[in-house]
Amino acid sequence: MMMSKIVRTISNISVLLVFIFGLYLVMHGHVTPGGGFQGGAVLASGAAMIIVAFGSYNVQKRLKEHHLSILESSGGLIFIGLAFGGLATIFFYNFLVGSPIFGHIPPSGPNPGDVWTGGVIPLMNIAVGLKVLAGLSAIVLVMALASSGIEVEE
């Protein structure tokens, strides 16, 4: 069921701001407060807004549930793979500190902050953000489809 044109227009505009804020939270999770879980929840709230405004029937033509499930599983696999990457020292060892990828080391104490730091932590933030976004969006989409009585063939 689609909502009125006012709601659709407003959510079309504001979903961009929601997605930008969520991506900011995910990408700066190792510098400022935030992180993968919080940013992924913000992104999933944007997806929930689109589903509520445009109706689950119109959304599921473009956004299938099994695609979201694949995204969620790949996020989890990236997270575990990064954890296994440090297995030469110990599980969950941060093996990218000092390397060319996210390898800057900030001075201890207060400093202006640098996005290109953190080693494996920003990549884990991205993986967890992908996982939370896909998982919560899949929950909202499946519940909306079930409550509107649409039968989707598997």
């Binding site: 999770g29 400022t32 941060n94 001075p107 884990m124």
Partner: protein, 90 residues
Amino acid sequence: MRKTAAAISLGIVIAFLVAAAFLIHPFGYPPSAMDDYMIQNAQSETGTNNVVASVVFDYRGYDTLGEATILFTAVTGVVMLFRARKKGEK
């Protein structure tokens, strides 16, 4: 017999709880050197300004792995509950 065993085990649990309430560290006192170590070394070891992120994703990575597993299980359960049935399936 069972009531006696239950009473004895309950008494042991209550004794541990009371002892824990009286033997706890005073408020604000660092109970171990762990938090001081993280505050001192998190920036040089993991390269993150956000010490909370370094704890969540590096020092306590197992905990985050468990959280991700919980989310995965929840999503699996919800999708399994609300999935569309095939024709002829009850």
